[in-house]
């Protein structure tokens, strides 16, 4: 028994360790130039619809062996535990239905989509308040 597939019921923190931590690292910082950090971007992205769509279509989410509900639980755990910024008051949790509707369409150009989204977030007032990172960490 080596890997959880559908049927294993791990808590979101453990699912993050097994499914995400290998590349994004235990604290979500990733590796510059190769694996993007989630610490400064996941929360701002999760506050706008284009950002939520991006989050649910990145390779790690779209191709994850986790169920839709488990993906939603991991993301909700991440925004609360792996983010530099505190959770804004208007944050809406991810749910299985939202995950299901979007993860079936994986992004082809992840870096380009991420860069575009970063610029969009930086332009918006909400993004300015949350002070997202100014550089792209690649894909």
């Amino acid at each position: 028994m080596a890997l959880p597939t559908v049927g294993y019921c791990y808590e979101p923190r453990v699912n993050y360790q097994i499914q995400c931590m290998g590349c994004h690292l235990a604290d979500g910082t990733g590796e510059s130039g190769r694996v993007p950090s989630v610490r400064g971007t996941l929360v701002p992205f999760s506050m706008i619809s284009e950002g939520r769509e991006f989050v649910l279509r990145v390779p790690g989410v779209a191709q994850s062996p986790l169920t839709d509900a488990d993906v939603a639980a991991v993301l909700n755990w991440m925004v609360r535990n792996l983010s530099d910024a505190p959770l804004p008051a208007g944050f809406r949790d991810y749910d299985a239905g939202e995950v299901h509707a979007l993860r079936g369409r994986p992004l082809a150009q992840v870096s380009a989509a991420r860069q575009k989204l970063l610029e969009r977030v930086q332009r918006s007032d909400a993004g300015a308040r949350m002070n997202p990172p100014t550089r792209s960490d690649g894909d």
Binding site: M1, A2, L3, E11, V14, I18, P59
Partner: protein, 171 residues
Amino acid sequence: MKWFDLFAEHTARSLARRISRRSFLGTVGVFIAGSATIPLLPVARGQETKPSANGAHADPAACDYWRHCAIDGFLCGCCGGSATSCPPGTDMSAVTWVGTCHNPSDGKDYVISYNDCCGKTSCGRCFCNRNEGDTPLYQPGHSNDYDWCSGNSKANVPYHCSTARIVGAAQ
């Protein structure tokens, strides 16, 4: 003190009449044999150092060590490091392959991080390729055939060996 002499003489003669020398030797023999069997009692055995009941499952230097269930590479314990540390002259990759293994000693599952040690040519000793849960390259999220050293901050450093570090209980 005469009464004491009489008492001792009477007792000794009485014993000599009733008990043979062979009986005495037999009693002592039983006592000695009995003493030798005391360590076999469960109470005594429970205090002994518990021998490894899991064999290779409990030996960090063995490929069959429980933490190595999903490993693919040379064991760092054979290369100057250990199951949790890199040999001198190598750096541990941050980006890595993660799996879960069952520990037969306590019956629990653990998340294991197989961080590679990078910076020297392949160790070449104790190759261990158990690959439980490994997926083909077309399912990249859980394929362990990547060279994790290529993702290190030092570009293109060679792979040396693999560790097997416990991240935490899988629950």
